[in-house]
């Protein structure tokens, strides 16, 4: 498994963390003790998750010639 494959795993885990954090913060915001900061954190997390996915596509395109092993 090459660095490219491991990087793909890393990007997947990072996007999962971003979207997971977003879900957690949205739940906090709509819960009984929600504050505007929770909503801000959730929105930024969604944006970061989107950026990570866009980066993932970019790096796969850029390193097309390098194998996964």
């Amino acid at each position: 498994m090459s660095l490219k494959a491991v990087h793909l795993v890393f990007v997947t885990a990072l996007s999962a963390l971003c979207f997971g954090t977003a879900v957690w913060k949205f739940r906090d915001y709509f819960g009984p003790h929600g504050v505007p900061g929770d909503l801000g954190f959730a929105v930024v997390s969604v944006l970061c998750g989107g950026l990570v996915l866009i980066y993932g596509r970019y790096f796969l395109k850029k390193l097309k010639s390098i194998g996964y092993l």
Binding site: L3, V6, H7, V9, F10, F41, K62, L69
Partner: protein, 256 residues
């Protein structure tokens, strides 16, 4: 005598030897961190209500460190890709940026540790409990920037029991117990310092390897660029593992 399979893949494994070695090492690392994560989760779920700290760590600083490590993973990959494309100057830039990012990560971690190690809980002989950051301490008096709390349970979730901090002067004659938020404070701090400290040691180890590959080790580029590129790749594999560990550590320690 040449060391075999430093560049060419070994026929039976399909990859060069250093990569097999690194994967075996990472497998042992998974077991090491896996044991610690298991210990954390079991202790966390079995903790009685109001005995497990929440909101003790700074989420903005943790988020910043996550961002820094994510960027360093990208620069590590770019450094390897630059070697593959035979662009040594670009490799130097990316590897140098990785080193700087790692240094910033450790600096933030050191700041967080300092914050915890200067945070004290003082139990007085009359049963009162004071909690806050240490301002000064000598043989006669301890001064905290903090608050008096009704019980230790109130310390577990500062957001649920907000209080105004003020300067508290306590005579040492009144003090029954003085304890900072170090590893011996409670189960959470013990796990926090053990897991994040072990992770920080891995960051330090990675920095040493990167510094070598960026500095004296980069001479190999002139004599054997393919082998040097493979060295950069396996160092990158290790770095990605360390980054992945942080992706699990961050939600477990900071967000739960």
């Amino acid at each position: 005598m040449d060391i075999p399979y430093t560049v060419q893949p070994r026929p039976d494994t399909g990859v060069y030897n250093a990569k097999v070695g690194m994967w075996l090492f990472l497998a042992s690392e998974v077991m090491l961190f896996g044991g610690l994560f298991s210990a954390y989760i079991l202790l966390r779920v079995s903790a009685p209500p109001d005995t497990w700290p929440q909101g003790w760590l700074s989420v903005p600083l943790g988020t910043l460190n996550t961002l820094i490590l994510a960027l360093s993973a990208i620069t590590t990959l770019m450094a390897w890709a630059a070697c593959k494309a035979r662009m040594f100057d670009r490799y130097k830039v990316y590897q140098g940026v990785t080193l700087l990012l790692a240094l910033v990560f450790l600096s933030i971690k050191a700041y967080e540790y300092r914050d915890k190690l200067t945070h004290y809980t003082v139990t007085l002989k009359d049963g009162r409990i004071a909690d806050g950051h240490l301002v000064s301490r000598d043989d006669t008096t301890v001064v905290l920037d903090g608050q008096f709390v009704e019980s230790r349970a109130h310390l577990m979730n500062p957001k649920r029991h907000p209080a105004k901090h003020e300067e508290i002067r306590i005579s040492m004659d009144e003090v029954k117990r003085l304890q900072n938020y170090g590893p011996a404070y409670n189960t959470f701090t013990a796990l926090y310092f053990t897991m994040s400290g072990l992770h920080a040691l891995h960051i330090l180890g990675g920095m040493l390897v990167f510094a070598y590959l960026w500095g004296p080790g980069s001479r190999m580029w002139k004599t054997d660029p393919a082998r040097f590129t493979n060295r950069v790749e396996i160092a990158g594999l290790f770095w990605h593992f360390v980054d992945l560990v942080w992706i699990f550590l961050f939600p477990v320690l900071y967000l739960t």
